[in-house]
């Protein structure tokens, strides 16, 4: 009788613990989603973080509108969560585009803007060049600020339309490419994953091969293993400090993609070495013996027989690594920086999604936006995980019967 009661008590404790874990997890994910999902849309994913201001040079040209007014007003691209259409759109023939007045409200300020809401085929805006002669890709939802020196500030839409229509010949238009997106952060994150894996994977795999296939068990192997395990336990900020002192300053690589990637690669090494080692250890001795008995050299045995068998394990290492890179913030804050731009070269700075989420939450106090980034991070991790699972299944030699 009392044993039954005891059993039941223990059982309910176990259930309770499971329930708590699950609900905490669901609560966190739910919180992030509810907070952030409102901000996740195509613009958010594809725009740069910072606005870009250009002077666009082009020639005016009379282009009649090819659609009717109804379609035009439906065409207006504005996001009614933080943009309200106040006037327009009105089509202007000499720039071949329609303009609307939109009141734009974000969490800190509110302003009125004139936004391109439709561009006709053959519009002179489409072949506008900037001051260096490079083509600007003007799109709908770009903001117009002035034309040939006449500012649109505090004007009504009608006044702006008449100013624009009165221009002819050369046009010099001040346009703003809207910001607020995380395109550069997504790209920086992918670069970071790619480069750090490119560096850490070969080194880690060769290290693991040395440890399992070549090194005689003993002092040195134990020391290396101990070192790897210790490295795995050190908080990443310490690696960040090292990366900053060594890559950024001593090697003079600056705060850059390459400094960040190398720092993260060091963080990844122990993970990769350990999972590859485990994978190599599970390859049956019989395969090695079979290969050697056929007169294969040790190297041939390792590369043609042992390594292919270890692919699923190595894929796990890749998976864990991707998670580490995407999730890393402290070390990257110090080595790759917080500049939201697509790194043009290995030596330009860039901010990954996680760093950007940190930066936005901490420096701008915008929790919603940070949560929106959180959602994107979760999705990217899930997608990359599925991809590496699929590839590892494809490469798994034991799967093909």
């Amino acid at each position: 009788m009392s044993r039954k009661i005891k059993d039941n008590i223990v059982k309910s404790i176990i259930y309770l613990a499971t329930a708590i874990t699950l609900s905490v997890l669901l609560f966190i994910l739910g919180f992030i989603f509810v907070k952030g999902i409102g901000l996740v849309n195509w613009d958010f994913l594809t725009r740069d973080y910072n606005e870009k201001v250009f002077y666009a040079f082009t020639q005016s040209e009379e282009i009649p509108m090819s659609i009717d007014t109804d379609t035009l007003s439906k065409n207006t691209p504005y996001d009614d969560r933080y943009e309200t259409l106040t006037e327009g759109p009105i089509y202007i023939e000499n720039i071949g585009a329609a303009v609307s007045k939109i009141s734009y409200k974000n969490y800190t300020s509110e302003k009125e803007q004139f936004v391109i809401s439709y561009i006709e085929k053959g519009s002179p805006l489409l072949n506008a060049k900037d001051s260096t002669g490079a083509t600007i890709n003007i799109k709908t939802d770009f903001i117009l600020e002035s034309i040939n020196g006449e500012s649109f500030e505090n004007l009504t839409l009608d006044e702006v339309v008449s100013i624009i229509s009165s221009q002819s010949g050369d046009l010099k238009i001040k346009v703003v490419q809207p910001g607020g997106g995380i395109k550069s952060n997504i790209i920086t994150t992918l670069y970071m994953v790619l480069i750090s894996l490119l560096v850490a994977l070969p080194i880690g795999i060769f290290g693991a091969i040395y440890l399992t296939e070549y090194a005689k068990p003993g002092r040195i192997v134990n020391i290396i293993r101990f070192a790897a395990e210790t490295l795995a336990g050190i908080p990443s900020i310490v690696f960040g400090l090292f990366g900053m002192a060594f890559f950024v300053v001593a090697l003079n690589l600056q705060i850059s993609l390459i400094s960040g990637s190398l720092t993260v690669a060091i963080i990844l090494l122990p993970v990769i070495i350990r999972s590859t080692e485990e994978a190599l250890k599970t390859v049956p001795m019989a395969f090695r013996e079979g290969s050697l008995a056929l007169g294969a050299t040790k190297l041939q045995t390792i590369f043609k027989v042992v390594l292919p068998c270890a692919v699923p394990g190595i894929a796990t290492a890749v998976l864990l690594s991707i998670g580490r890179v995407v999730g890393e913030s402290a070390a990257l804050l110090l080595t790759a920086g917080t500049v939201s731009q697509i790194p043009g070269t290995l030596f330009s700075p860039g901010s990954t999604l996680t760093v950007q989420a940190y930066y936005i939450a901490k420096e701008e106090g915008n929790i919603e936006l940070a949560c929106a980034i959180g959602i994107v991070i979760i999705v990217i991790v899930i997608v990359l995980n599925i991809l590496s699972r699929i590839t590892s299944d494809k490469l798994d030699v034991f799967n093909k019967k």
């Binding site: 005689k216 068990p217 049956p284 019989a286 395969f287 090695r288 013996e289 079979g290 290969s291 050697l292 008995a293 056929l294 007169g295 294969a296 050299t297 041939q300 043609k304 027989v305 292919p308 068998c309 030699v397 034991f398 093909k400 019967k401």
Partner: protein
């Protein structure tokens, strides 16, 4: 009795650390004969077999004393191990095909030796499979994984893969112990047909098998060779009392 001697061991001792697993073994193994090793478990049959292609190199702490002459050259002396293993092939107790296609399993050894020519490889693969009596069963699935074969087929594949190296000697460590009687019978037939091309040394726990296929039999006990003679003599008229006890099942 003017058969050529393939392997000749002289006072061979082998130690695993401090434990002496082989004690002063002297044995002459003739060319193109089937030699069987019998004896109770743990008596050193596998250990001795693995000396002959230096597979014991893989184990730490093994020391070997005495000589193993292969074609009159000491294999523990100044020889190329890789070359030795291409000349002395080995088939293991548990079938161990590589997790690759049937074709790749057989082409593996020759490719490791640098054979690249596709047609040459194709012929070799076919020849080896034919010799191993497996061709008819697998000719339509050469590119399928070898892991999909039955145990008996896998073991014949391992034999085929060894034959593909065209070795002089094939060592077999209980090659049929993991197989059913029908698969065993096929492999025994195979061994009788291979005998004219290869020197075969086989470890077996089955007296009947040793009796059926071998020309000579060695009886091992506690790391020593108690008796080594023509198979019929060992089985009908052994010199040593212990051999007789073992063969008649009166042992220990």
């Amino acid at each position: 009795m003017d058969k050529k001697i393939k392997f000749n061991t002289k006072n061979l001792d082998l130690f695993y650390g401090d434990f002496q697993a082989l004690k002063s073994i002297n044995m002459e193994i003739g060319e193109k004969e089937v030699t069987a090793f019998i004896g109770p478990s743990g008596c050193g049959k596998s250990t001795f077999l693995r000396c002959l292609n230096r597979m014991n190199d893989l184990i730490d702490g093994v020391t070997i004393k005495g000589e193993i002459l292969f074609d009159e050259k000491d294999i523990n002396g100044d020889i190329d191990v890789i070359n030795l293993r291409t000349r002395v092939g080995m088939v293991f107790q548990k079938p161990n095909p590589f997790p690759m296609s049937i074709y790749e399993n057989i082409a593996y050894g020759p490719k490791c030796q640098g054979m690249k020519d596709k047609t040459q490889l194709d012929t070799l693969v076919k020849e080896s499979l034919v010799k191993a009596a497996l061709w008819e069963e697998v000719k339509d699935r050469l590119n399928k994984s070898a892991l999909g074969l039955s145990g008996g087929q896998q073991q014949r594949l391992c034999i085929a893969r060894t034959i593909a190296m065209n070795p002089e000697v094939i060592l077999m460590d209980e090659p049929t112990s993991a197989l059913d009687p029908i698969a065993t019978a096929k492999i025994e037939d195979l061994m009788s047909s291979l005998k004219k091309d290869f020197t075969i040394i086989i470890v077996t726990h089955s007296m009947q098998q040793a009796g059926r296929i071998s020309d000579k039999t060695a009886f091992f006990l506690m790391g020593e060779v108690i008796e080594f003679n023509e198979t019929p003599i060992i089985f009908t008229n052994p010199n040593d009392k212990r051999t007789e006890d073992y063969i008649t099942g009166r042992f220990g």
